[in-house]
């Protein structure tokens, strides 16, 4: 499922302003389902024996349920405060990996399956200046002008006509003549 066409676009979000007042872990309960004698549940059984009590002590806000069932592969079912439920197959997982996945479930806010983040940041106010209007950065000198004005109606980069260029040349020549006379 790496193709982004199959994943729903999502934005980074915190449920119900979590963390503005205080942070509340969003995982409310987790159910570990496993088999007591099937080999695929071995890692899960090891984890329950050695790591589960620590996990429960460190996270008193998460209710942990164990559900043994015969000859089925082990799964983790996580329930979040926003109502999401996430199933995760942990077939043949070693206990270290189960702890890693449990930590992930414990720290995330919702089930992210089938989602891709559009970007890694989010803001409600992309602009602090506000939108542009025809009146922002308007030249104050225009306040005293009465329209229509010939200058403003023309394009700013109007090319010079050949007549104007000739006139300019003529003027330059005259100036030069005057200056040369002064020099004498």
């Amino acid at each position: 499922m790496s193709n982004k066409l199959f994943l729903l676009p999502a934005l980074v979000s915190a449920p119900s302003q979590n963390g503005v007042g205080r942070y509340v872990g969003q995982l409310q309960r987790v159910v570990l389902k496993f088999c007591k004698n099937n080999g695929s549940s071995r890692g899960m059984r090891d984890f329950i024996e050695s790591g589960l009590v620590n996990f429960a002590k460190e996270n008193p806000g998460v209710v942990v349920y164990l559900k043994p069932r015969r000859h089925r592969s082990p799964i983790i079912k996580a329930e979040y405060l926003n109502g999401d439920t996430q199933w995760m197959s942990v077939r043949n997982f070693p206990q270290e990996e189960i702890l890693k996945w449990l930590t992930l479930l414990n720290t995330q806010a919702q089930c992210h399956n089938g989602q891709r983040l559009r970007r890694l940041w989010f803001t409600e106010h992309p602009s602090i200046q506000g939108p542009w209007t025809p009146y922002t950065f308007r030249d104050p000198s225009l306040n005293l002008v009465s329209f229509p004005i010939e200058e403003l109606a023309q394009p700013k980069d109007l090319p010079k006509s050949s007549e104007e260029e000739l006139l300019e040349l003529f003027k330059k020549q005259k100036l030069q003549e005057v200056e040369s006379k002064r020099a004498e």
């Binding site: 509340v24 349920y65 329930e79 109502g83």
Partner: protein
């Protein structure tokens, strides 16, 4: 024809049997029954329709004591267990339990419910909101914000996100918003009784007032006639003369016409606003002026 009928059926059986044998014997490796069986199971599943939603408490893996314990721990609060449990019991639920016990002839248990806690919690919530907003805004805005934060939708939203939905003991399923908002109030009161008022107030601030994050009070508070409201405010300040001036206009006589109007008093700009016509622009300018006036609001001592 009547003679033919049994013959035909016999023949059909024979052919069917042969085909069935053929099907079994022609390939051993490809299990041809899998697909039709799954298809049939799917068809039956679809015919029954989706499974009805069940309350979480009816599941096998459910321990109410553990859930209530985790509820307090999750929020970082030390609740008195009995008080918290009482805060979660609705009056209708308690009554129903009592009737059921009486009908069975059992001794009626004294079921406590959260009715009184709801009243108390409601008062605490109102007090916190009003106290906090009175420091920053005048009475009208405080009233609007209070109304906004104490609606059933808002309180039930908060209640749902601290995990009350599965814990509430109530007759109806799915849990309605009214129950959730009432239970949130009761939880606040339970916290006050378990610890103290300060802790309960902090709880309300952290969970309810934080909902105002990123929201503008001027979007919540909406004066009906801003210009008249502004004039009233200015009269209190001793300003009676306000001059609305047309600052800018463009695209007049088109569908995108827009006007910018500034309200001036004694050559000082009070507020500026836009609109598709002069009246609307004047009103928005008045709203802007009100916001500017309230920006450096000092509460009356």
């Amino acid at each position: 024809m009547s003679l033919c009928r049994p013959t035909f059926s016999l023949l059909r059986k024979c052919i069917g049997q042969n085909l069935y044998n053929l099907r079994l014997s022609d390939s051993r490796s490809i299990k041809r029954w899998v697909s039709p069986t799954l298809r049939e199971l799917k068809r039956r599943r679809d015919r029954i329709g989706p499974e009805p939603e069940r309350p979480r408490s009816s599941f096998l893996e459910w321990n109410y004591e553990a859930e209530v314990y985790a509820f307090g721990k999750r929020l970082g609060e030390e609740f008195d267990k009995n008080l918290l449990k009482r805060a979660l019991i609705q009056r209708e639920y308690a009554n129903k339990q009592e009737f059921a016990a009486r009908e069975k002839g059992l001794p009626t248990p004294e079921m406590l419910h959260n009715y009184e806690l709801i009243q108390e919690g409601s008062k605490i919530i109102s007090k916190v909101i009003i106290d906090e907003y009175e420091k920053l805004y005048p009475q009208d805005i405080v009233k609007a914000v209070h109304e906004y934060l104490t609606t059933e939708d808002m309180l039930s939203h908060v209640g749902k996100h601290i995990g009350l939905k599965d814990l509430v003991l109530t007759n109806e399923f799915p849990v309605v918003n009214e129950t959730l908002s009432n239970t949130f109030k009761a939880v606040v009161a339970a916290l006050k009784q378990s610890q103290n008022l300060e802790r309960a107030e902090l709880f309300v601030k952290d969970f309810l007032l934080s909902q105002m994050n990123g929201k503008d009070v001027y979007e919540i508070w909406d004066p009906k006639n801003p210009y008249e409201y502004l004039m009233k405010l200015l009269n209190d300040k001793g300003i009676s003369e306000v001059e609305p001036r047309l600052c800018n206009q463009s695209a007049v006589n088109t569908i995108l016409a827009n006007y910018q109007i500034g309200l001036y008093s004694n050559k000082k700009l009070l507020g500026i606003g836009w609109g598709e016509n002069v009246e609307v622009a004047k009103e928005t300018a008045a709203i802007d002026a009100i916001q500017r006036l309230f920006r450096n609001y000092v509460p009356k001592q």
